[in-house]
Symmetry: C3
Subunit: 263 residues, 3 copies
């Protein structure tokens, strides 16, 4: 794998412009905890979120939507079936789908399901270092939803995972790394408060799902999604008194984010 | 149908006063994405929200509550059964229930279920133009949860639906229209940011459910519910930097809303 | 039972320090409405929330987590089975679990389930007066999720419940009372706006679950959890224009809360 290249603000700004113009309809099959925040993050970026969960409806809807997100945070057996139906429909309609393997590793149902999903051609995978390592090794090491590893420690796992699955893999942490198994981009920035509110990682995965549906270089678009969120996080932190004002400020910054801020 | 009459602020203020005095207990069977926001909107208006979802409990609770909301945004087969039980119990106890037919039309489960519900005497129906047209025509045309039509394009569909179901029908959009199949009220106002945060429409339906339980002219009360939300949206927009600060400001404005603001 | 002693700010500050150092991983099996807020409250206090709901995974996870919360607000038969599996696993691993018996009393499924749970050695129980009375009497009296009683009216019920179940019982209201069946602590403070946003009680139960896992005097820790939330509520109220700004301010205040504020 190449040495990491830091993504340039110009390219991020172009990618964000394209995202806002296209306003992708993102079908989010995500966990119970982050639904509202995920929807609001997508809306703040001019995308359209929609959550459809019945198995038959989810399959219908995935064929219509521009992108699909599968997040296994609050998986059940029934939800796994509906997600599988949606993934199959997305694949049949040639719509890209993104995997967020929340807390994969130790927990049985999600770990087996994620391994199954890896064979179904995800366009992108977004996780923290522990999740990416567990997914690549087919074994687990996280503590609940938190990572026990720095993102850099997962570079080899990310590369393997990208090569095995064909997906763009994003390992997020203090620095985010994004790879297609060959090229490697680094994304700096972000803010500590992003880890003290729920859903920033899960919402990023939904944004990644939308960016993965843009025409052009998918590696670049996925890295742009990471940088957009990190940049909004930095800017919101400056004016926040704590996590409550941070959440509101974060959505405001996503809404206002422009090339000047990104470059 | 008559020409639309714009509802007067005086009447809205009276209706809101009555709502706050009665503080209706609203049983919300709604989608996964908007539960918190829906509850907070009702609480800000001095109502009591409660979400009870088990089939047997939902039937018990609907008989006790003042009003019931059925929102099919994240319908499943199991939820449809529980909602049906709650609607039957509400009808038996002569408690009004309100339908929000989210994304009805193209998606099979919800479209069939909504047609079934139409025969069960809803007190009110609240949707965007695409949803109201789809529900009236028993056919669909929306793009996910967004409307492809202006609210004015759905006036005929709204009238038919009101006549067929006996419900007050509210079509919301840039202008909201509310009809009982004969009279027609128009509600102006609102704000663009209301469409860039999730749940304003769904929360409005919960507020409509509560207003539909007030004694007096239900057409007027439902239109008042629409105007209360639109007015809070306008006021919150003035001080918002984006959708994050808008959400907080919107709840604050609902809390503070008074006759002066409405007239 | 003894006369109530008001808990001292010094002890609360010590307890909070210990909580932040230990940063407990709290497995929350809670209702659909309060998931995000509950997670954000725990994160603001430096704890780690995790929501795992599949029956087998929940049992696996409860053995790993530091504490478990069971909140029956949106119970279903399937969720009850998963909760039961998690409680059994927590007990086997000697991890404390806390019960929030939302709206127990009139509603059949949750009332029977809560009575069953009482025999399974909860570490703590947190409810409003109506809920604690209903739980102790095995009969109901609330109006949905709201209490019809002042917290002081539930003192005898709280004592009986503590003696019968072995749990620390917290009855929250304008004054909170916390008892182990013998000793009785009173917690003053709080704010009216806490009752006009959804989830403050449910989130308190999650915080109680985390504090119940600290080493030392559990009665004191549970009362400290109540005081931490009440104090943040008071401070957030001073700067709030309404419930929207209150929610953001409340999380900020939890984040900033220190000994000076508590003493």
């Amino acid at each position: 794998m190449q040495q990491p290249t830091v993504i340039s603000g110009d390219l991020v700004a172009e990618s964000l412009d394209l995202f806002r113009q296209r306003a992708p309809l993102v079908h989010c099959m995500t966990n119970d905890v982050v639904q509202t925040f995920t929807a609001n993050v997508l809306l703040a970026l001019n995308a359209s979120p929609a959550m459809v969960i019945d198995s038959e409806e989810a399959a219908q809807f995935s064929a219509l939507a521009d992108a699909l997100l599968i997040n296994v945070g609050t998986l059940t057996g029934e939800r796994a079936l509906a997600m599988r139906a949606a993934v199959d429909a997305a694949n049949q309609a040639a719509k890209p789908w993104t995997l967020d393997p929340v807390a994969v590793g130790g927990l049985k149902l999600r770990s087996e399901f994620c391994q199954q999903l890896l064979t179904l051609h995800p366009a992108a995978i977004r996780g923290n270092a522990s999740e990416i390592i567990a997914l690549a090794q087919q074994a687990g090491s996280g503590r609940g939803v938190d990572s026990l590893h720095e993102s850099g420690a997962a570079l080899q796992a990310a590369q393997q995972l990208a090569q095995r699955s064909g997906a763009i893999v994003a390992v997020t942490g203090e620095t985010d790394y994004v790879t297609d198994g060959d090229r490697l981009l680094a994304v700096n920035g972000g803010a500590k408060l992003m880890t003290r509110v729920v859903g920033t990682g899960c919402a990023l995965s939904a944004v990644v799902a939308g960016f993965a549906a843009l025409p052009g270089d998918r590696l670049l678009h996925v890295a742009s999604a990471c940088r957009v969120m990190a940049c909004a996080g930095e800017r919101a932190t400056r004016q926040a008194s704590g996590p409550g004002s941070f959440v509101a400020g974060f959505l405001d910054e996503l809404w206002m984010l422009n090339a000047e801020a990104l470059i």
